[in-house]
Homo-oligomer: 140 residues x 2
Amino acid sequence: MEKKIDELLRKSQLSVTGGRRKILELFLQHDGALSHSDIEKKAGEKFDRVTVYRTLQAFVEKGLIHSIPTPDNSIRYALCKDDCYGGQHRDDHVHFICNNCGNTVCLEEVVIPAIRLPRGYVAQQVEMLVSGVCKSCAAL
Amino acid sequence: MEKKIDELLRKSQLSVTGGRRKILELFLQHDGALSHSDIEKKAGEKFDRVTVYRTLQAFVEKGLIHSIPTPDNSIRYALCKDDCYGGQHRDDHVHFICNNCGNTVCLEEVVIPAIRLPRGYVAQQVEMLVSGVCKSCAAL
DNA sequence: AACCAAAATGCAACAATGTTGCAAACAATT
DNA sequence: AATTGTTTGCAACATTGTTGCATTTTGGTT
């Protein structure tokens, strides 16, 4: 784990520091998206709020994570897959937010379908956000 | 216009007040989505911030407007069409955000395509957000 | 191993955004 | 015109996000 984290950071041209290690570890441990406040809580009192902001920003820039807009106005972040690096995101998958447990996950296997825009519009990025009941919650 | 506004408010079971009239007027005048701060600015210094929050909340609850999550973490609101009332939104259209002018519009004519979710997931609402260059900006 | 430049961190201060309780003002109805 | 319930503005507060700067740490070099 330790090794993997340092490797990932170096591969992303980020110097290896305690804060970055810890935050990246959280993403690797947690299967789903994390918000800024999630991270602050989970990381304990160890890191300054500002550091968390800057770390997340750096991770996004380097393509380690991508951000997910949510209806409740809290940006969440999720790990990018390996084929997504150098700022060249391939976020062509659907994001799912559970109305029950609040978890947000990437449905990597569900590709966003193509759409036809009206004449004159040029699409650069598409985001698809599904909310409902997730697998774990539906099973209860 | 005056009449239409009062009518709309009453139809939505909202008592007619100066603030609500003004804010609804802004939505009718402006073809596109408005953020909270847009409204504060456009409404002048007339209304308290809190009133704007509560008015938008009331409008959403009554189905006059719907909210649009954006990648930059600023919720925007847009008028609902007539067939969308009583909290029963029919937000089955795509939202477009221009990276150039920042405008957000509802593409009513572009329906969100159906998708197949993995086993166990239940969709309740789907939001599709396209960013790029809008018609007006592309024409320049 | 010690040094150095560049980068990251923590701190403080600040700005912006969102929430709550309460008293005063107002709208709809009788 | 009076009454009742709703809406508003204010104040205070909580949360979230930003910026500048001094200090510490990292990664590379001698």
